[in-house]
Symmetry: C2
Subunit: 426 residues, 2 copies
């Protein structure tokens, strides 16, 4: 049944059937959760060897004792390994603590209050600071902006990344725009991979935008492919080098979804100027990050080949969960006109778009029967999805059985909301 | 020879002898370093069992998986263990990452920009914010203030803590004073322990000082005794409870000098109001600290009795280094009128006061023969020791042999500078 082609009688019959299904789901007293992009415990098990891997050998490759103080920007071997994941020169890489969110927050706060190129360059000198937020996007990015008083402008996400025509027009006409958020590979939540052309155009923004414009390149899922045919991502560093815009990009990543979500290693890369300014800022608040954990990670992940094998282990666990959701969506909603969804080749999310105006209701319907979904609107700045249609599905954390059950409940909620709305319109 | 009683001839003879000794030291091509309060590698060896201690069991006492995201304020068992070191209720304790300096920085930055009791309470709303800095004190405390634009007022340190008559007079007369730094047990660098009366008077400042006055109670060396007769520290929480001033104190500590200097666990404690405000601030920049490392520490240090035994292991390594310095100072400088020094019962430093106006020269003389000392002035706000007399000696990191050699070279420099000055005066 396609919702736009169904007769009133057909819709009424469908409503009755859906209400029965929904009642039956209520009786199951479900307690399911598809909210956050957390690895499941079998994924975490893949890295259990981390604790104990040093076997009493706490010496870094340069002979330094990782147990002691020192080394604000991390171990050279960690810079080499994690810098390579960003396509960055180790000399332009900084290793942090356990959270890339922390590195992103400090970068923005620093750019706001102290300025990447001296106090005169601090964004906060101006009354209004704006940021471009390709959406649907990541709620924690938006929360940082809101917390720091940065005004957010929603930019549409296309299948190959942000709508660059709109982005370029905006940065050309409004000098208050000081940066843009990007999750370039397996974007949160759409799972799209930015095309080479889009990466090049983003690298070129530093030439067109206002001074000290900053691309926040959160490459959180760079090695998180679900299958070997997943599209590659062009190197933004390479484009920046060609265009002379290295100062306009900060790249971020972490091993949170490679090893332990809460006890991984975060890293960033930018130009020499930016790194040196940021380090000067950081040295007031820390003597240095946890180098013991960095050394554990280097000994465990070794090199990009070993890391790739390790990531294949993740994919083997996650892929069936993604497949389960996609199969249920396909079986229940294909050709019904009741929604569209992404089929990502990597990352942690499936992005679902309902008919306009229904996301909040669907999330509420699911919640009422014990299926927690990411709050509708969370994927947009200020929690405000103008179409009220986007829902982020995160299938990694629950068991395969629970993912299956959640998806089956979800599609009933989608259909129920859609048919109800259609009947109200009629 | 007492320098004030020596004849000119005696001083001339002494000068000649000292110049010979200094020349001989020059020829040794020494390369010694007494600058920073770092544990030595044999101290770090005491905690080598940390890596691997979990033996694959990554479950916290409450059954939660420490490998995953979550838990902004740390593991309950870590709160219980480390809170007890601060004499704090676990419910009023927050566990951070690897650095108490980071916790201190964020607390001050937050009080400056956002306010502990809402934006109206932000110190930064006023043009001038001042802090009391008992000195000699810790250079990194002073650097935070300077970086955040907080004006520092030097307050004298006595043998039982800051000169509280001066502190009370200052906070009563100047409402721009918003807080005070304290290292209450084995103060950096004097090694003094605050008396009960001083702790009580500091706890009472919250009643007399301007609103949102904050005591930064950096209890870095709380369990770092060199011998079992070291004086105890009164609980500031207890006094605050009695006086109703819990909002005026933040306590800090870390395991940096208990386990691994760069890979320990930091913690803080304050009132419910302050903790809740700080947590709201932190949640924008982190999902949570490294709980795996917290669990390692709890499994390793277990309880206060096990921890005390562990600290005795540190004392056994450090005590001979302190003794070596003190014996050399005593043998060379007792009853010479050329300096005074502390004989701490714990902590990481010996504080040496030369004759006025000589600290910079002594440090330079030492540097010229390959003995690095903490820069003169570093123990005062803005690096400015008004008497130019204080030198911080940090004997923990070098080998016992090197500590001995450093101390022997140091006293030659002290004497040389003192005798030269005396002859110039004559």
């Amino acid at each position: 049944m396609h919702i736009q082609q169904a007769t009133n009688d057909e819709l009424q019959a469908e409503l009755q059937s859906l209400q029965t299904q929904y009642s039956q789901l209520t009786e199951l007293n479900l307690n399911l959760d598809l909210t956050r992009g957390k690895p499941g415990s079998s994924q975490l098990d893949l890295s259990n060897a981390l604790d104990g891997i040093l076997q009493g050998d706490y010496r870094a490759a340069d002979g330094s004792d990782v147990r002691n103080y020192g080394g604000l920007d991390g171990l050279p071997e960690a810079k080499a390994l994690f810098g390579s994941l960003l396509g960055a020169d180790p000399a332009h890489t900084l290793i942090g603590g356990n959270s890339s969110l922390t590195l992103m927050y400090h970068t923005l706060e620093f750019a706001m209050t102290e300025g990447l190129a001296g106090t005169a360059s601090a964004w906060g000198n101006a009354d209004t600071v704006k940021f471009l937020c390709p959406s649907p996007g990541y709620d924690r990015h938006f929360a940082i902006c809101e917390h720091l008083g940065i005004e957010m402008i929603t930019v549409p996400m296309l299948e190959d990344g942000p709508d660059m025509d709109i982005v370029e027009a905006l940065v050309n006409e409004d000098s208050a725009i000081k940066g843009m958020w990007c999750v370039p590979r397996f974007s949160n939540p759409t799972g799209c991979v930015y095309s080479d052309k889009t990466v090049e155009r983003i690298a070129a923004l530093g030439k067109q935008a206002s001074e000290n414009f900053l691309v926040m390149w959160d490459n959180a899922y760079t090695v998180h492919t679900l299958n070997p045919t997943a599209p590659a991502l062009a190197s933004i560093s390479e484009y920046c080098k060609k265009l002379g815009t290295a100062d306009s990009v900060f790249q971020f990543g972490s091993s949170s979804k490679i090893t332990f979500a809460g006890a991984g290693v975060a890293y960033l890369s930018s130009s020499e100027r930016n790194l040196s300014a940021l380090k000067h800022h950081l040295e007031y608040q820390t003597i240095g990050p946890d180098k013991v954990n960095q050394l554990r990670h280097v000994r465990f992940l070794k090199d990009t080949a070993t890391l790739a094998k390790h990531m294949a282990g993740h994919a083997a666990i996650i892929q069936p969960r993604f497949d389960a959701v996609l199969q249920v969506l396909d079986a229940a909603l294909a050709d019904t006109g009741m929604g569209n969804w992404t089929k990502p080749a990597g990352g942690y999310f499936i992005s679902f778009d309902s008919l306009p105006g229904l996301a909040k209701e669907i999330v509420q319907l699911a919640d009422d029967i014990g299926v927690k979904l990411t709050p509708a609107g969370a994927t947009y700045p200020y929690g405000d999805d103008p179409q009220d249609c986007n829902i982020r599905l995160a299938p990694t954390f629950p068991s395969l059985e629970d993912v299956q059950a959640s998806a089956e409940a979800f599609v009933v909620c989608v259909k129920l909301a859609s048919v109800k709305q259609k009947l109200l319109e009629a």
